[in-house]
């Protein structure tokens, strides 16, 4: 139970960074921290005490493994997070090229 609370504390640190910072790169960093916390929460739910990793070895019986389904979901989620980060960074570089600043209070004009 205390592990879940620590994981949610990591999530709320990332959330504070997204809500309160003015630099776009800091917002991207906060988004990355949120994504780490969510992946960790998924894997924490599927953990089983004193169990083995879900890989079969040559002469061991099939007993007592951790839950493999959350691991399958998180595997694709990690790579999707990388793709989203790359897209946001590309948009941020284009914004800097057009407006000359990374400050979000000065990027207010929605031109075409």
């Amino acid at each position: 139970m205390s592990v879940y609370i620590l994981c949610l504390a990591l999530f709320s640190i990332g959330l504070y960074c997204v809500l309160r910072k003015r630099n776009i790169i800091k917002i991207i960093i906060g988004l990355g921290i949120i994504e780490y916390a969510v992946n960790l929460f998924f894997v924490l739910i599927g953990y089983r005490m004193h169990a083995r990793a879900p890989i079969l070895a040559k002469d061991q019986a099939i007993t007592n493994m951790v839950d493999p389904i959350p691991q399958a979901l998180v595997l694709t989620s990690i790579v999707i997070g990388l793709a989203v980060t790359a897209l946001i960074v590309a948009i941020a570089i284009r914004i800097y090229d057009k407006y000359g600043t990374f400050d979000i209070t000065k990027i207010r004009r929605l031109r075409g």
Partner: protein, 149 residues
């Protein structure tokens, strides 16, 4: 003191020459043994992309783009995605979408076992590796529209 050659210093270039082939080989190993030990297509594809990025960071963009150009990376990525989709559609021979259509699955713990899973791993590795290298190339070679620096 600015060095006129592209890329980094001599120490970095020497170490890169020694290790970049090993990184590529390690990536291929993780992809091919994806059904026997941890790893799979995604991790192996990212490692292969990292080996090409290492080459570009150490030697400059001309030499790296000669090894794998931008057009070749786009074609490889589309090829990987189409191969994955066609393996999925070929499952219609068995009646379902994504059916594992090899009739015998081989002996376990061997390299040639487990039906379509190694083929799917290779398709995903091509798509992820070439796609991430294309992203990195485009982000680095972006020219500014007006002169600010």
């Amino acid at each position: 003191m600015k060095n006129k050659e592209p890329g980094m210093t001599l120490i970095v270039k020497t170490i890169t020459r020694l290790t970049v082939g090993l990184i590529l080989l390690y990536g291929i190993y993780i992809v091919l043994h994806g059904h026997l030990s941890p790893g799979g297509g995604f991790a192996g594809g990212v490692i292969i992309a990292l080996s090409f990025i290492h080459l570009m960071l150490a030697f400059g963009k001309d030499l790296a783009l000669r090894k794998l150009g931008q057009l070749a990376a786009s074609i490889l990525e589309s090829l990987g995605a189409l191969m994955f989709l066609s393996i999925a559609l070929l499952g219609f021979t068995g009646g379902y979408f994504f059916f594992n259509f090899f009739l015998q699955k081989g002996r376990p713990f061997e390299l040639f076992s487990a039906g379509i899973i190694p083929l799917c791993n290779i398709a995903i590795c091509l798509e992820v590796g070439a796609g991430l290298f294309a992203i990195f190339t485009v982000l680095i070679l972006f020219k500014k529209s007006e002169n600010k620096e």
